[in-house]
């Protein structure tokens, strides 16, 4: 069996185990073991991948495996990874791992919670290792549907409304996507040739232009909905605000990246000509996302809403950078996915921990928490600094690369939009500093808060892992960015062909 399939097999076993276990300690033990195994697996994969590359193996996808599944449609279960998938797998395993600790005291129904949580991870990992459109789409939807119950049952606030809105909007996106995938499939070979679902095989052929014009927008918007592209981002603030901590972490941290990843792996890679022609439309939309998300965050008073709108802005930047269609900006896009994934997971984890203590997320009702819970507060400040792009942390590396890449375009249109998008950095600083100042500094607003305690061991563990990853990416970004950069070469080749 292929070594990559373990990424799917482990969460499958975890899900099955949840049906058999009853005792909460055993459930935790299984979840921690499974999540740690996935993390170890991802690190091993990274080391092996870098080893293979430095040994001169320059195949587009490594560790490939291929099993014929549905012969009539030439559907395969085929897996393989390049540098980008490796980076995404690493990110996912870190978030899944920390998410388990962030939901340590989950109640009610912890067993069911972890069962759906594991199901969600099956989808996430499966998506990133797939190289076949059908399997990719299958895992994509597997990752979406558990959200409904995770938010609906364990969420807070207007959870039923948010859960339904999120599920329907994302499934709506995947409906467009399915038409796109079918369209790609039936045009994947010249008249009479063997049709294929395999991404690498399709990329060797050119899809006819009229088909590209039809299916590129469908595919891009389909994935774009999950990437919170304006005007399809409205599920995101409500969804994130209502979701339980670990689910917000996983959703904002990893799931939204499925959108960005799909955009260039499927939409742009397979239909490069249409991407060149139509990118300007989507550039405008994502430009709006970036600025609009940031401005909306300023107005919010709920910690989760602030972070959710900030996610819209940051994920908008991912799509924005992808649409610049050059290697530097796209490297920046993937770095931004990594950086935002870690950062936002850290934010949501901390917000969950603070909310668990103060029972409010309204920044007007909090203040001076730095003295009461120093550990959580310091970590929150670090997350905030990463978000506004302080050098030495991951946000700086990512945004720098994105904007350097964007400036490579010399025409007015791209210049103007780059400058507009750049302005989001300033706006980000406004809402981050305001939030940090209001909640952690100043006088204590509520005397009851004085009795609160700081983080306990499992919370500390989850937070520290994320901070180490953020700082690691910020201080030593080159090995990751090189890995991503060289993996983007085939996509760029398609674009300039």
């Amino acid at each position: 069996m292929n070594f990559l399939s373990l990424f799917v097999l482990i969460p499958v076993l975890m899900t099955c185990a949840m049906f058999l276990l009853k005792d909460i300690r055993r459930i935790r033990a299984v979840m921690v073991t499974g999540a740690s195994l996935l993390l170890v697996l991802a690190v091993t994969l990274t080391v092996m991948f870098l080893g293979q590359r430095s040994a001169g193996n320059d195949a587009e996808m490594l560790f490939t495996a291929d099993v014929l599944w549905f012969a009539p449609l030439n559907i395969h279960y085929s897996v393989g990874v390049d540098g980008i998938s490796v980076a995404m797998l690493l990110l996912s395993s870190i978030i899944v791992f920390t998410g388990v600790f962030a939901s340590w005291k989950m109640s009610p129904l912890p067993r069911e919670f972890f069962a759906w949580y594991s199901l969600l991870s099956i989808g996430v990992f499966g998506f990133f290792i797939s190289t076949d459109l059908f399997t990719m789409f299958l895992f994509y939807e597997v990752a979406l549907i558990p959200m409904y119950l995770l938010i609906g049952v364990w969420g807070t606030g207007r959870k039923e409304y948010s859960a339904m809105k999120l599920t329907l909007m994302l499934m709506g996106g995947s409906a467009l996507l399915l038409v796109g995938i079918l369209g790609i499939y039936f045009h994947s070979a010249p008249e009479g040739g063997q049709l294929s679902m395999n991404i690498l095989e399709i990329s060797k052929n050119t899809i006819p232009m009229n088909a590209q014009y039809l299916f590129f927008p469908l595919t891009f918007v389909g994935f774009g909905v999950l990437g919170a592209m304006f005007p399809f981002h409205t599920w995101s603030p409500d969804g994130h605000a209502s979701a339980p901590t670990a689910v917000s972490m996983l959703h904002a941290g990893v799931l939204m990246k499925l959108g960005g990843y799909g955009c260039f792996r499927v939409a742009i890679y397979l239909m490069p000509e249409a991407a060149n022609e139509l990118s300007w439309i989507f550039l405008i939309l994502t430009g709006i996302s970036v600025v609009y998300g940031a401005f909306s965050a300023i107005k919010q008073t709920d910690l989760k809403y602030i972070n959710a709108y900030s996610s819209v802005s940051h994920c908008g930047l991912v799509l924005f950078a992808i649409l610049m269609l050059n290697q530097t900006a796209m490297t920046g896009a993937v770095l931004q996915m990594l950086s935002h994934g870690l950062m936002t997971a850290l934010f949501f984890a901390l917000i969950g921990m603070i909310y668990g203590r103060t029972h409010t997320r309204d920044i007007r009702e909090m203040g001076g928490l730095m003295k009461i819970m120093p550990f959580l507060s310091v970590c929150f400040v670090i997350a905030g600094l990463a978000s506004l792009g302080l050098p030495g942390l991951s946000g700086f590396v990512a945004e720098m690369t994105v904007f350097v890449g964007s400036f490579e375009h010399t025409d007015t249109f791209h210049r103007v939009f780059t400058i507009i998008a750049c302005s989001s950095i300033v706006i980000t600083a406004v809402y981050i500093l305001r939030m940090v100042g209001k909640v952690f500094y100043g006088a204590v607003q509520n005397k009851d808060h004085l009795a609160l305690t700081d983080a306990v061991w499992f919370e500390r563990l989850s937070v520290i892992v994320l901070i180490v990853a953020i700082a690691g990416l910020g201080m030593a970004p080159l090995w990751v960015s090189d890995m991503i950069h060289e993996s983007l070469a085939p996509i760029i080749e398609q674009l300039i062909k």
Binding site: W69, F70, A71, P72, L73, I75, F134, L138, F139, E141, V142, I145, Y148, L149, G152, V153, E160, M164, T167, L168, M171, G172, A175, L176, L178, V179, L182, G183, Y185, F186, L214
Partner: protein
Amino acid sequence: MNAMDYSNFLVMKEELSLVAVMVILLLYDVFGSKKSLRYFQPVACILFAVHTLLHVVPSVANESFGGMYQYTPMIGVLKTILNIGTLIVLMQASEWLRSESTIHKRGEFVFLLLTTLLGMYFMVSAGNFMFFYIGLETASIPLATLVAFDKFKSKSAEAGAKYILNAVFASGLSLYGLSLIYGTTGTLYFEDIPAAITGAPLQILAFVFFVVGLFFKMSLVPFHQWTPDVYEGAPTAVTSYLSVISKGAAAFVLMTILIKVFSPIAAQWQGILYGVIIVTITLANLFAIRQKNLKRFLAYSSISQAGYIVLGIIGGSAMGMASLVYYILVYMVSNLAAFGVIAAIENKTGKVSMDDYNGLYSTNPRLALVMTLAMFSLAGIPPFAGFFSKFFIFAAAAEQGYYILVLIALINTIISLYYYLLVVKAMFINKSDAPIAAFRCDGAMRFSLSLCSAGIVLLGLLSVIYNQLSLLGYGM
């Protein structure tokens, strides 16, 4: 003319063995002692299971009575699917049949049920319109009595009257169409008709009249109005039978007749189906949203599912046929799982409203899980079988270039997801002061639900079933 050659009957093995089962059960019911009749239902299930197993492997293509009766491996597979569905319905009905008001007429129930199945065998095997019509009627009339089986419940009696009136009207139209076809082509044999079809207005008219009968059976809009009332009033076992077996057989027959007989006017019927699909799926979905009674709810859901089934027909391709049969199979296990849960709860508590299901997960987690599986599968959520069947049926339509239609159908799946999730929401999220108390269903029901759940999980992931089906499919 020679004397009749009785070896013709040997081709109809499956029909003969079904008749044998029916006769044995009829005699057993009439002559069995009171003591031995306690085992009537297990015996009925086992006999029918044996009948199913005997014919599970499709044999080679054949025909008899000069082409009136046709057999192809695909028809054999479809009959097996209908058999499995009927078997599950029989198992799910056992608890209801043992109740005081029905126990004295359980023999009739099984006999009538199998008679309609025999009619459907004739329908799917027909190679001649006369034979087809006999099958259609054999399937319809006993069904009306089954719908009115709880005759002391006014809703059931009303449903029976509605069903028979609608059915008679529809088959009258159908028959009128057939007479026009005979008048313009001079034959009723499927094989001979295409050569005589010129696309003259009268033939188009004949086709439209004829096809209405099948649209009625499949409850496609605008011939769907009977569905919600009948589904609500009929006993749940009969409702589930109507919604899957009857519908599945009609869908398959529609496809075979369209591609075999009416292929010369493909453009015309494709146009009709195009409109019917859009209207059916959209209207049914919009109506389903507002339903509170689960049986009415599933009635609208099954109307919209019929619309998706027709997506496999519209292209008239081999892939379409394979996807259609696969869709019927998957839809059958999913719908029967849902109806099984409804029947189990209805038997114990008499409750069928969606609000009664609030908090079901806390008291009856297993039933709630089965229902969730069924809803997810009907909505087309992976990794359950419904996802695969929807994907293939969409692929079959997209293959013929119907991208807009596929897009409309897909947007409708989102609406349907909304109402399927409402059921899931009731069971998992909504709180209830008085949830349905925990209970255990009888063995047959538990077995049938496990069978359906296994089908929902495995039919998709194990690709072998679709792969085999696609070898048997044929198109225009």
